[in-house]
Symmetry: C2
Subunit: 228 residues, 2 copies
DNA sequence: TAACAAATGATAGTAATGCTATTATATTTG
DNA sequence: CAAATATAATAGCATTACTATCATTTGTTA
């Protein structure tokens, strides 16, 4: 994917890091190899010690950028949603027709991630795998309410809000725009997971059928006709 | 909820435990207080040591029943789905009309859990809280494929299968019965979580509106009229 | 270029976790 | 009553999730 604007920085809540990883070479290496390591071994088996060793440094250096691995996960997932939000806006902003706009949004949400060269040290495809496998662990904790108050989930909430507003614009009298929006965003990740590990629990076989499933779900719910 | 049959035992895959907790008083106490402890402190902060202390015993005794806390979680969630499946069958089996049957199934799936006196030592409401907050952690692991092969998720898959078949019976030409079924089961838990922690991401305010949302979602997708 | 600060790296230490192993004490059963 | 079984108590070990300290490198600026 080629960017129109080249100097975009994804803004992530400053509380998620001790020192901005984008501010130094080491910081970027932590993020880059952190993504690779988590997608390889999974979040449970991921440790700052392993990451330090991997980047030819050590634990204490990683701790200078992130308080703990939970905050690191929140940083990564926030970055992802910021990036995805940017894409959503980029691809839907100029569309006037509400139905086309929503359709395009669903396409962006369900399409697989291509490598985005604008953020050279981030492998968005690997990051998406992390989202699918680990995202819910970032909020399914006993600290969720406090962290929510501190703004850790703002970007995701904004993303759901954008989709909700598109639904609302198309059908102002539909009573569940927020529930539908959050169901689609969470559901898309879940269906991807099922495709990979529990194919008997889904009819989707690739991102195209995933898109068609959600498009059908959303547009029939809103009682809007679409062309197949 | 009153049972028609009084001597029902929820069958859980034997590989999830070392020794059947239902076979002894200690085993039942482990399950009973395990549910209470996990719902209090969350799965991350739950340890066998804490559980042992709580039941006036110790770690090693708990290990004689369950290999580790991950298997314990799988045991609990399997038990829950077995119990829920039993309720689903109980409440839908005698219904002939496919639309009414599916509607009733959605009611069972979205309704809050009442205490079921047939399994006196299990607090189903607390267990449901565990499902909402911890269920996805049972399969979002690097071991999911091996564990799936070993049958740890059979009951949940059967549950999704039942819902899928009801959808299929009602609308044989609908192309996504499995995806819709898995979306509803997972989505119901997710929307419950949002109601509690992220009310701005959902329009549901109680189990009734949750039910209405999913009923509308499913029946419009299947192009079947329902009365409100 | 000396001198100082900032960033990074290396090492050590601590409490908690996730176990395993051993032994002692109840409890049940034949 | 003896033997078998279940439970309890204790100890130990590797790993994790940190914190603290000190050494070294790198970068800045007077």
């Amino acid at each position: 994917m080629k960017h129109l604007i080249n100097n975009v920085k994804i803004a992530v809540n400053e509380k998620t890091y001790v020192k901005d990883p984008e501010s130094s070479d080491l910081g970027k290496r932590i993020v880059q190899h952190g993504i690779a390591l988590i997608s390889e071994v999974g979040f449970e088996n991921f440790t700052f010690r392993k990451l330090g060793t991997r980047i030819g440094s050590n634990e204490s250096s990683v701790y200078r950028y992130f308080e703990n691995k939970h905050k690191f996960l929140i940083y990564l997932t926030s970055w992802y949603w910021g990036w995805k939000e940017y894409q959503l806006v980029l691809h839907t902003n100029s569309i006037q027709d509400p139905a086309l706009k929503l359709e395009r949004a669903l396409k962006v949400i369900t399409e697989p991630v291509e490598k985005d060269s604008s953020f050279s040290y981030i492998d968005e495809a690997a990051l998406y795998q992390i989202l699918i496998n680990e995202y819910s662990k970032s909020f399914l904790t006993k600290e969720v309410d406090r962290e929510n108050k501190e703004g850790y989930f703002e970007i995701y909430k904004r993303m759901v809000g954008r989709l909700r507003d598109m639904i609302w614009t198309l059908k102002p009298n539909y009573p569940y725009p927020a529930s539908l929006a959050s169901s689609v965003l969470e559901g898309a990740m879940h269906q991807y997971f099922l495709m990979e590990h529990f194919p008997s629990l889904t009819d989707c076989r690739d991102n195209e059928s995933l898109y068609v499933f959600f498009r059908h779900l959303v547009f029939t719910s809103l009682n809007v006709q679409i062309d197949d």
